[in-house]
């Protein structure tokens, strides 16, 4: 077994981020889209912690705490909005909302 | 201190603001007339202060450009833009070229306001307020001695004119107003870029400083683009041939007063800009003329404009449109004289600006008077008006002849001089002169064609339904309308028999336009005033 090095953590972070990004762009279900942005934030968090450990300072961990808080705030907002929207149209398809164009 | 020049701008601006606040339309009318007459008096006062016999040859060459401005005003406080070292100042001044154009403007404005008394029937307060604002901005262009101020006033004329055409114009007024605005603005954006570039590079917007900088410190390619940028804005305004298409529409759709001011003054802003900015800053280098090819190209555009305008005017059914196209043709002469870049041509060009303002302005006034009576301008519906309206017919024929260039009236001298300029110019030559002369013949044809149809022949007028609530106008011109036309007619005759004062007074300024600023003022075809006078007498 080789020891886990920085790049392994970064790899996991990057994979999470990219999965999130691709999912965000391709899926049309509102909840899945928001989950994907959460996934991106988690990738960032892993990145930050790994770098914090690598640089031997606490800035990365402190940053992570805030990133998690921000992600949570965004998610709660988003889910509240999804409930509101679902009540109006009874669907979770993002393409159902296209009143505004031009 | 020369307060006259400050008053010249302050009177109409204050007048516009007060006029917009007046309680009713009747007072607004008379107020506008009063203000415009007061402005005219200020203009006359300014002319009285002016030293017409100024001799610049005693002034050191480097200082000459600044000294040529006699009545000047620069306020004591400065307001630098503070982007590094850019200096913008509210400085005003006139030399003899500006002064003649100022005099023409202040003459045209009261008559066009007086002519609108019955023509404009709705939203009168607004109309007269816009007219006064327009007067201030136009005068601002002529008296600005600061490049940025020049540009600001140049642009500002658009807004009142846009509303004048758009609100009080004919049936297609919206389209005409929009097209007018878009065309002129598109051109002048490039002018703005060049203005800022020159201000940035020269470290000042003062006209004399910028001119000197442009002539001595620009590289050739930079100078070329400076000329192109400046000429872009001015050519649209003049208008020269390919960008003239806004003009016939705007002239036709505008109310009478709007057409008069548009043809009489706004077009001159373009020609004046070419004379004041584009030529000295873009064409003249330390060794004199830099781009003979560009000048030739410009002259060719003018010739095309002359011929094309005349041919298109010939086939018009609408007499107002006919006169509008004749403006395209006439302004071609004006710019042709300008780019001839010799004494005859440029003197003629300045005189042409004044003359065209007077005679075409008067044509539009007369056509407006016909339209007010018969509500048509169709050449097929009007005929033989001489029988019904002898006084009107007299003025119509009179101004037509002035416009054609009958010897003894004003048009003749300037047309003759511009063509002579083209003939004798170093870089143009006989071909250009001949082509322009063809334009004169065509001009006589289409104008006389119109007179023959409209004034003479069997009487034919459309039946007119009387409008409710308005007193019908008298059959022939009434006292007010005669008052409108008489001053113009007097000016036409005066400039026809006595053009020498104008020509002599602008001789030095036009030489300074076409020569590098530090060169001694000697024309290649130097001539004494007596010689000039001899040449011009028919």
């Amino acid at each position: 077994m080789t020891e886990l090095a920085l790049q392994h953590y970064l790899g996991v972070g990057a994979i999470l981020f990219v999965i999130g990004l691709i999912g965000f762009m391709t899926r049309r279900n509102l909840i899945v889209m928001f989950l994907c942005t959460e996934l991106m934030f988690q990738g960032v968090a892993i990145n930050l912690i790994a770098f914090g450990r690598y640089h031997q300072n606490l800035a990365g961990q402190a940053f992570t705490v805030f990133v998690l808080v921000i992600a949570a705030a965004e998610a709660s907002l988003a889910l509240g909005l999804v409930v509101l929207l679902f009540r109006q149209k009874n669907t979770l398809d993002a393409d159902a909302w296209r009143e505004l164009r031009g | 201190m020369h307060y006259s020049i400050v008053l010249l701008l302050a009177v109409p601006i204050v007048g516009a603001i007060v006029g917009a606040l007046l309680p009713n339309a009747r007072s607004a009318k008379w107020w506008a007339l009063l203000v415009s007459v007061a402005t005219a008096l200020v203009g006359v006062w300014m002319a009285a202060q002016f030293d017409w016999n100024q001799d610049l040859s005693a002034v050191p060459t480097s200082d000459r450009l600044a000294r040529s401005v006699q009545i000047a005003f620069t306020p004591g406080f400065d307001s630098p833009l503070h982007l590094q070292a850019i200096q913008f100042s509210f400085s005003l001044g006139v030399d003899s070229i500006s002064l003649w154009l100022v005099l023409m403007t202040v003459l045209l404005m009261p008559v066009s306001i007086l002519a609108s008394f019955t023509y404009i029937k709705e939203r009168q307060k607004e109309f007269y307020a816009w007219m006064q604002a327009l007067l201030a901005f136009m005068l601002g262009v002529f008296v600005a001695r600061d490049l940025l101020l020049f540009y600001v006033c140049f642009e500002l004329t658009l807004i009142p004119m846009f509303f004048i055409i758009g609100i009080w114009g004919g049936s297609e007024r919206r389209y005409a107003a929009g097209k007018f605005f878009l065309f002129t603005f598109s051109g002048s954006v490039f002018t703005l870029a060049v203005v800022i570039f020159l201000g940035l590079a020269a470290g000042s917007f003062d006209l004399a400083t910028v001119t000197q900088y442009a002539q001595y410190d620009l590289t050739d390619s930079a100078r070329f683009w400076v000329f192109m940028g400046l000429a872009a804005g001015m050519a649209v305004k003049v208008p020269l041939f390919p960008v003239h298409t806004w003009l016939p529409l705007a002239h036709t759709e505008a109310p009478t007063a709007g057409s008069v001011i548009l043809a009489g003054v706004l077009l001159k802003l373009g020609a004046y800009g070419l004379l004041r900015l584009a030529v000295p800053m873009g064409l003249i280098g330390p060794a004199g003329l830099m781009f003979p090819t560009v000048v030739k190209a410009l002259a060719v555009l003018c010739i095309i404009g002359v011929i094309y305008g005349a041919l298109v005017a010939w086939v018009q059914q609408d007499i107002k449109k006919l006169v509008a196209y004749s403006s395209v043709s006439h302004l071609g002469f004006c710019v042709l004289g300008l780019v001839a870049l010799n004494d005859y041509g440029m003197q003629g060009s300045v005189l042409y600006m004044v003359n065209h303002g007077l005679s075409t302005g008067a044509m539009f006034l007369v056509i407006g008077m016909i339209y007010e009576r018969y509500h048509t301008r169709d050449i097929h519906q009007l005929s033989g008006l001489a029988k019904q309206m002898p006084i009107m017919s007299f003025f119509f024929v009179f101004f037509t002849l002035s416009s054609i260039g009958l010897p003894g009236l004003n048009g003749y001298v300037s047309e003759f001089l511009t063509i002579l300029g083209a003939f004798t110019s170093e870089h143009l030559g006989i071909g250009y002169g001949i082509a322009a002369a063809v334009g004169i013949i065509l001009g006589a044809i289409y104008m006389l064609h119109m007179v023959a149809r409209v004034i003479f022949g069997p009487l034919k007028v459309p039946h007119v339904h009387e409008e409710e609530g308005h007193k019908p106008l008298s059959r022939d011109l009434n006292g007010r309308e005669i008052t409108v036309l008489v001053p113009l007619a007097i000016a036409v005759v005066l400039l026809g028999v006595l053009p020498t004062p104008v020509l002599n007074s602008v001789l030095e300024p036009v030489r300074m336009v076409r020569q590098p600023v530090t060169a001694p003022i000697v024309g290649p075809t130097a001539q004494s005033p007596a010689e000039v006078a001899m040449v011009q007498r028919p």
Partner: protein, 531 residues
């Protein structure tokens, strides 16, 4: 196995001087608390909350004037900085939000559901707080917090009209784009942290200096791109602008107005601060990094302006039209930021960069009043007639001469025509862009063409108002809103006449802390201009 060093000590307590520098923010926080408490004392809290918020904003504005640039320096262990730029921006922002609250009174207030007021003003003040913090951050962590603090309330504000389907859709689009771009931005920032081991942007050992000494790498570019994505979203730079027109149309009008200036302005000021740190750290060594960055921003700005102006051509709705116009104006300002980045490479000192900052600040000051005036008139007309369609503005010159005049003034100013301050702003833009020299003239050309394009759609609105006839009844706008519109129009004229002093003021305040220090201290010790 290494152990992490753990700092043990007394909790950090900021001293009075540090707090004083952030008095405006503290006032905003106090106002938020007061707004939340208001419903306990007042039965119908909407209007009361409005007044409380107004008082809080006024107090914050006064504190901006009182504190001024005294608090200049690095505060809270480098998390935040206070400097002339941030003071200038906070002054503008607070003035603007006061205008927005007044606008709310005259447009949305009567129709807002009783009891929603406290939430609305909490969110509005919270977003304002975030936007004023955005101007004061020099630390990546604080940057993210400030951006999110500005964004999260904005998402809710956009969909605040709960029964309004379009509002919900606007909010949805806004939050989708926002969440994605902010996660991309944070990912990039984590890369910056990983590369250099610090979150501090400026100062010794900060990111900017380390980048200057160690040069660029692929990862660095990725990080910079992602930062531009995040801020580009706030600025609504193309291609991150899609939210803008939808949100402006869906949100109620005072929210649209708020986002049009405050969100974009805060993003630009933050972008300028970051770029200024980069540029100053690399001053005197013309590096390819700065040139590439300048090209990137210049191209982005040019595309943004062009897309904004061309898309505005076909708009029928006044709010959408103003949205695209705001995109275009953001593009102009982005172009200037490119000069800010390139400045040191052109002239080997920070003069040009300062000029660029000055131009952007002046532009923002003018833009604020143009947009506030235009949106206020649109809101008043919407309230009286219930329409946002431009075609329904027909005959407005007769139906409400004052409103038509104010809107025309703002629109002419947006084109950049004299006699309005927009002209000076445009002249400044041209002026600044020409300093770039060489082949950067293309940018001048692009802005010139864009100005002509923009003329068309702005004048179309004026044409409809004055030249089209309509038999609709005259309308009498709410006096408060009419007052706001008239003041805006008057200020636009005034700023043209008094552009010298105001421009100078922007010049005085165009200095960043930690950058260009010598000029900054010299200028402020010699003459302290009134804020």
């Amino acid at each position: 196995m290494n152990t992490l060093p753990v700092a043990i000590g007394l909790p950090y307590v900021p001293d009075w001087g540090q707090l004083r520098a952030f008095a405006p923010e503290l006032w905003l926080i106090a106002a938020i608390v007061a707004v939340l408490l208001t419903p306990f004392f007042v039965k119908k809290p909407n209007a009361a909350c409005g007044w409380v918020a107004l008082v809080g904003l006024l107090a914050a504005l006064v504190s901006v004037f009182v504190v001024g640039v005294d608090g200049t320096g690095e505060h809270f262990r480098g998390l935040m900085v206070a400097d002339p730029v941030s003071v200038f921006w906070k002054g503008l922002l607070l003035m603007f939000v006061i205008g927005i609250v007044l606008m709310w009174f005259s447009t949305t207030a009567p129709t807002m559901h009783q009891g929603d007021g406290p939430e609305f003003f909490t969110l509005l003040l919270g977003a304002t707080l975030g936007m004023s913090l955005m101007a004061s951050t020099s630390n990546l962590l604080m940057l993210v917090i400030a951006v999110e603090l500005a964004s999260l309330p904005s998402y809710v504000l956009a969909g605040f009209r709960k029964t309004h389907l379009a509002g919900a859709e606007a909010s949805l689009k806004y939050i989708l784009f926002g969440a994605a771009t902010s996660s991309i931005m944070v990912y990039g920032l984590s890369m910056l942290y990983g590369l250099y081991g610090t979150l501090q942007i400026d100062g010794p050992g900060g990111l900017a200096q380390q980048i200057a000494t160690s040069g660029g790498s692929a990862l660095l570019w990725m990080a910079i791109f992602s930062l531009i994505v995040g801020l580009g979203f706030k600025i609504s730079a193309v291609p991150f602008h899609f939210w803008c027109p939808d949100v402006f149309e869906g949100a109620s009008i005072e929210v649209s107005a708020f986002l049009s200036v405050a969100s974009k302005g805060a993003g630009l000021v933050l972008l300028m601060r970051v770029m200024m740190s980069f540029a100053s750290a690399q001053a005197y060594e013309s590096t390819p990094l700065l040139n590439h960055l300048a090209v990137l921003l210049g191209v982005l700005g040019a595309i943004t302006a062009t897309v904004g102006n061309t898309a505005a051509f076909v708009q029928r709705n006044i709010k959408r039209l103003l949205a695209y116009s705001s995109i275009a104006h953001a593009g102009y300002m982005l172009c200037i930021v490119s000069l800010l980045v390139r400045g040191p490479a052109v002239k080997a000192d920070l003069d040009l960069a300062s000029t660029a900052a000055q131009v952007v600040l002046f532009y923002l000051a003018v833009y604020l009043f143009m947009n506030l005036g235009a949106f206020t008139v649109a809101g008043l007309i919407e309230r009286e007639t219930g329409t946002e369609r431009i075609a329904d503005y027909a005959g407005m010159g007769r139906r409400s001469p004052l409103m038509a005049f104010c809107l025309s003034a703002c629109l002419f100013s947006l084109v950049g025509l004299p006699p309005f301050a927009g002209f000076v702003a445009k002249v400044n833009v041209f002026w600044a862009l020409m300093q770039n020299g060489s082949w950067w003239w293309w940018l001048v050309g692009v802005i010139g063409v864009n100005t002509v394009l923009s003329l068309y759609y702005y004048v179309r609105v004026i044409k409809v108002m004055y030249l089209d006839d309509s038999s609709s009844a005259p309308i009498w706008p709410h006096p408060l809103g009419a007052g706001v519109a008239v003041v805006c129009a008057a200020i636009l004229v005034f700023m043209l006449i008094a552009f010298g002093p105001i421009n100078r003021l922007a010049g005085h305040y165009s200095h960043f802390y930690g950058v260009d220090q010598t000029t900054f201290t010299a200028e402020f010790s010699s003459s302290q201009p009134p804020p």
